[in-house]
């Protein structure tokens, strides 16, 4: 089987478990994203797959080959670092060619492949430039090209846009997606930023305290986050006690589009705040069992009472997280 399989992978630092029994199947050519808050163990997981951190237990196979017992340089797993880690004493061309050199590719072929890759990342003619002269976005692309050059079986990107301007991000992420599509690489993208993960990945996983707590397509995870933590992480704001809205008691997610204002049999609440964001007025309504967010075309008056009705189709029960 191509792709990558992690089974029961754990990494620990002394008594502390950084990656806790992670099992995951990534299909060949899939773009997969792992997100979670900082310290969740995302980067450690990537480093463990690359062989830069020793496994406490479990095994890893990539492209049908068990790699967890191999040293890093024999794993054929590419890792792009958040700080890019471009070799400062080499030119752009030599950076990109490094993996080819290690693989014993003859110089003539190296030059050709580097030329093609620089063309792909839109940096034709940059081969002889010292890396110190590059802009942030250029560095990012060179780092990607260097990672891709030896055609690794698995490409891993560790916060690849962490140090790029917000304005550039959207373009770069699409660019990266396309480049990985062109070369047909299986990839894992790690980020703490939900929108990056969503725009990049076919499937996403959410990691917390070393555990993978939810895996699925971005749409699935958004629709049914299953736990309070995932719901909050996906940007949901309307989480209330189900008992207040006629559902099962316990934490409950209400999708914003399932909430309408002022119908019969409505649930009473009070407007806590109202402000304009992303094309509409967002108001927090206090239901005395939690806050829900409604979206309106006009501002609501803070402190005024309001009635809400909720479409049961947009209600999802949530589990409280164990940790």
């Amino acid at each position: 089987m191509m792709g990558a399989t992690l089974s029961h992978v754990s990494v620990s630092y002394g008594s502390e478990t950084a990656v806790d029994d992670v099992t995951l199947d990534i299909t060949s050519g899939e773009r997969f994203a792992i997100m979670g808050p900082s310290g969740a163990g995302k980067s450690t997981l990537l480093r463990a797959i690359a062989g830069l951190e020793p496994l406490a237990s479990g095994s890893i196979s990539v492209a049908g080959r068990v790699i967890s017992d191999l040293p890093t340089h024999q794993r054929s797993v590419g890792l792009m670092f958040q700080d890019y880690a471009l070799f400062p004493h080499m030119t752009v061309g030599h950076n990109v060619a490094y993996g080819l050199r290690m693989a014993g590719v003859p110089p003539a072929d190296r030059t050709r492949i580097v030329g093609e890759l620089l063309h792909t990342i839109d940096l034709d003619g940059y081969a002889d430039r010292p890396v110190a002269t590059l802009s942030g976005g250029e560095r990012q692309r060179v780092a990607l090209a260097r990672t891709l050059a030896p055609q690794p079986s698995l490409v891993m990107l560790d916060e690849p846009l962490g140090s790029v301007d917000q304005l550039l991000k959207d373009d770069l992420i699409i660019q990266m997606r396309d480049i990985l599509g062109i070369v047909g690489a299986t990839s894992i993208y790690v980020t703490h930023d939900r929108t990056e993960a969503e725009s990049f990945a076919d499937r996403i996983a959410i990691m917390r305290s070393g555990l993978l707590v939810r895996v699925g397509t971005p749409a699935d995870v958004w629709d049914d986050p299953r736990t309070v933590f995932v719901a909050r992480f996906m940007g949901h704001r309307s989480i209330v006690d189900g008992g207040r809205i006629g559902a099962e008691p316990g934490p409950t997610l209400i999708h914003t589009d399932a909430i309408t204002i002022g119908h019969d049999g409505s649930i009473p609440g009070v407007v806590r705040s109202s402000s304009f964001r992303d094309g509409a007025y967002r108001s927090d309504i206090d239901l005395a069992g939690g806050i829900v967010e409604v979206s309106t075309r006009h501002a609501l008056e803070v402190g005024s009472p309001i009635g809400l009705s909720i479409d049961p189709a947009g209600v999802r029960p949530l589990l409280v997280d164990e940790v």
């Binding site: 340089h73 670092f81 700080d83 880690a85 400062p88 490094y98 693989a103 110190a132």
Partner: protein, 554 residues
């Protein structure tokens, strides 16, 4: 405010002492260094290059024609090169461990590596004499061989490599090596193709320093070498004191100054590259993680500390071996009351008293001149400060013997100072001044101009701003500089041999004389005195390390 071009140096320079005061602040260290350093150096050059009839380069022909002297010159370069290569080979693994890893006791061990470096070379020589000399513990006598000289040079230069390369290594992004590994490089290949090339400037500048220290080695070679294993430094001393050939000594000194100049130029070139090199990250050392690291880190540390610790431990142990047999305090008791026939008419207690007196005066001189120089460096224009900086640092590169020899041939004008005892602390202070400046200058330069501006908007005059802001902030680094100056003075040997009067020996001079006497009592006294000197300098290092690291985390 700050353009960031040159650290925190403000663009607009406030002058806390007014124009006249600033001139004075520059003039005093300039005159001091001019008369006590530059002038003797020029005198050596004139003495070496000229005769009353004019330019005389024939003396160099004589030197190169003399088989012994040619051998000395060749050996000087050869042993320095070997010492450098060996120190790198032995020091780099430890530099790696300190740069990349955390482990229990790291701070203490890091301070411990510094001990051999600041230890007086004479104590190092005594320790190796005790270990591998004619009365050595293992029954092997390596004195008069290249090996014992190399062992001693590696011993005290070890810290130069660990600190010099290690501190640079720590700031190299560990992801560079990780990236190389994921791109298919084996650990060794990743080191060779990525880490090593990035380290080159630090390795080169450090090598230059180690080479320089070995090239001008005096105490170690004097005690452990022989006529065919001798350095130019020792030969200058021998030509002066044994043969009274000041012309040959001067010419040798000129040769040595040329050699030092070449090495310093090399050092400066790479030092600049080190400073301007990318500083990617704050160091992020971590615990050893992989199986290989868990074996390598303790092994390297153990090896390093056996090498550094054993000679010193055995020196201390030997100091308790009594001449009359058994173990006890006899050697130390002898320091108070050593029979004259053993002591070569040098009373140990008066040597200790002399050393303390000279060191106190040397510290005062080094502080006054060093603080004025540091202040001048901070408050003068960039061009002036660059030039002045080089001038102030030069005594560090000059060898001890050059300084002592220069005093001897130059300081009879305008008044004959050569018999004055003040020359001893002045010579010691010359070596101490660069340390004072290097300790104080960063702290003074690091005082943000905003602080001064805030003080002046709150109503402080320029002088009061200096006294209440600058002076307060640098206090701790002044103590660091003073501790350096003290340790240097206590252990200084090369220059002192030229200018100490028989009636006013210092501790290192006394150790040297005792070692030259036959019998167990003087040898024991020399060792006991070496231990005392080791403890004094060790205490100074501890003070430096504690105060220094606290002022870093200010």
């Amino acid at each position: 405010m700050d353009t960031g071009v040159d650290g925190n140096r403000p663009i607009t320079v406030s002058r806390p002492f007014g124009r006249f005061g600033t001139a004075l602040v520059i003039a005093v260290p300039l005159l001091f260094l001019g008369y006590f350093f530059a002038y003797p150096l020029v005198a050596i050059l004139l003495r070496g290059l000229t005769t009353p009839e004019g330019l005389n380069l024939g003396i160099f022909g004589d030197i190169l024609g003399d088989r012994t002297l040619r051998g000395v010159a060749a050996f000087t370069v050869w042993q320095a090169a070997l010492s450098t290569v060996l120190t790198l080979a032995i020091g780099l693994p430890t530099a790696w461990v300190f740069a990349r890893f955390t482990f229990p006791g790291k701070r203490l061990l890091s301070a411990a590596t510094l001990v051999p470096f600041v230890l007086p070379t004479l104590v190092v020589a005594t320790a190796f004499l005790n270990l591998l000399g004619p009365q050595g513990l293992f029954g092997i006598d390596l004195t008069g061989t290249l090996w014992i000289i190399l062992l001693a040079h590696v011993f005290y230069n070890f810290a130069v490599v660990v600190r010099g390369v290690g501190s640079f290594w720590a700031t190299i992004d560990p992801h560079l090596e990780d990236a190389a590994r994921t791109l298919g490089a084996s650990p060794w290949r990743a080191f060779r193709t990525v880490t090593l090339p990035v380290l080159v400037p630090a390795i080169a500048s450090t090598s230059a320093l180690v080479f320089l220290f070995s090239f001008t080695s005096f105490g170690v070679v004097l005690l452990l070498g022989d006529l065919s294993h001798s350095t130019i430094e020792v030969e200058i001393w021998r030509q002066t004191t044994s043969f009274l050939r000041l012309d040959i000594a001067s010419a040798l000194a000129v040769l040595q100054i040329v050699g030092i100049g070449i090495v310093l130029a090399f050092y400066g070139r790479f030092e600049r590259r080190v400073r301007s090199a990318f500083r990617y990250l704050q160091p992020t050392p971590r615990r050893p993680r992989t199986r290989g690291e868990r074996v390598a880190v303790p092994t390297i540390l153990t090896g390093a500390f056996v090498y550094l610790g054993v000679p010193l431990a055995i020196l201390v142990a030997r100091s308790f071996a009594q001449p009359s047999g058994g173990f006890g305090w006899e050697n130390y008791a002898n320091l108070v009351d050593l029979p004259d026939r053993f002591a070569a008419f040098i009373s140990p207690s008066s040597a200790i008293a002399n050393s303390l007196k000279f060191a106190s005066v040397a510290v005062i001189i080094a502080l006054v001149i060093g603080l004025l120089a540091a202040t001048a460096l901070t408050y003068s224009s960039r061009v002036v400060s660059r030039t002045f900086d080089v001038f102030v640092m030069l005594p560090l590169g000059a060898s001890a013997v050059t300084i002592g020899f220069g005093f001897l041939i130059a300081l009879d004008r305008p008044v004959d100072l050569r018999t004055s005892l003040i020359l001893i602390p002045i010579a010691h202070a010359l070596v101490g001044i660069p340390f004072v400046v290097r300790s104080v200058n960063p702290a003074l330069g690091g005082v943000q101009n905003e602080l001064r501006e805030a003080a002046s908007t709150l109503g402080a005059s320029p002088l009061r701003t200096f006294l209440t802001i600058d002076a307060r902030i640098v206090t701790r680094s002044v103590f660091v500089g003073a501790a350096f100056a003290f340790a240097i003075s206590m252990g200084e040997f090369g220059a002192t041999t030229f200018i100490a009067r028989p009636a006013s020996p210092t501790i290192p001079i006394a150790i040297f004389r005792y070692l030259g006497r036959p019998g167990a009592a003087p040898f024991g006294a020399a060792i006991a005195m070496s231990v005392i000197l080791m403890l004094v300098t060790g205490a100074a290092i501890l003070a430096i390390d504690t105060l220094g690291s606290r002022s870093d985390s200010r």
